[in-house]
Symmetry: C2
Subunit: 135 residues, 2 copies
Amino acid sequence: MNISDVADKSGLPAKTIRYYEDIGFIKPKRLPNGYRDFENVELHKLAFIGRARSLGFSIEDCRTLLELYNDTSRASADVKQVAQHNLKEIEDKIADLKAMHATLSHLIDECAGDHRPDCPILDSLGNTVLTKSLS
Amino acid sequence: MNISDVADKSGLPAKTIRYYEDIGFIKPKRLPNGYRDFENVELHKLAFIGRARSLGFSIEDCRTLLELYNDTSRASADVKQVAQHNLKEIEDKIADLKAMHATLSHLIDECAGDHRPDCPILDSLGNTVLTKSLS
DNA sequence: CATAGGGCCTCCAGCAACTGGAAGGTCAAG
DNA sequence: CTTGACCTTCCAGTTGCTGGAGGCCCTATG
């Protein structure tokens, strides 16, 4: 199986697959002409990584998950811990974004959005720290 | 005012301030010994950028906002448009993260988290695409 | 006056996680 | 035989900094 087949089936770009080889996720065999020759196990791993990445796991998380995946004697608790850590990070990011959203939408509501140069958004961005530091 | 004062007052690390000079946000004067010599207007701009960055505006957004900020004849509508575009991106990110959160917390709930090797999290990561591509 | 400690300078490298492009080998079809 | 689609490697760029090396500069203390 060559790289474009694997790209199609895994949903990952060929570039990304080569990158994943570079960082040691897979080690496909080579044909005499130098082309990579993938087997199902590599496709399987790539699909696994792609799905984990889409769930927000970092590359290092994926490395850990792959090891756990390959280790048939691992405890499910180990995997759960990685997943829970990831879940917490997702929750933190959501909280941050919601705070940004609240502030920004408040500013936008206050802005007339017309042709006058007066703008509460810029005023707020400029003044908040100014009053704190330049008083 | 030297760089560490500005770092303290703006809340930005000195490294970041030098970086912001590199990319053209500020152009502080230099003392005869080569040290940067900041005036209030630069501190003001840095604080502005810092606050915009913390609200999720990209560097390029900040460049646009700074131009609008410096242009006293601009219409507040221009600023509002940048802010609204940014708000939409924040909303999209929140939606993505919520979807990840739902999937991941579902998987975590199903995982026993004990010493048995059986783990629905890994099963799901491994099988979803497998069934699609290797059937 | 020498020295120790900070602070400041520039430049180079690296983080994540790819992505794009150049330069070139390979292969199958017409 | 040529065309065009593959494949290869390697290098550079992306975003927004951050760390470190190597080296001035400035002040304070003995």
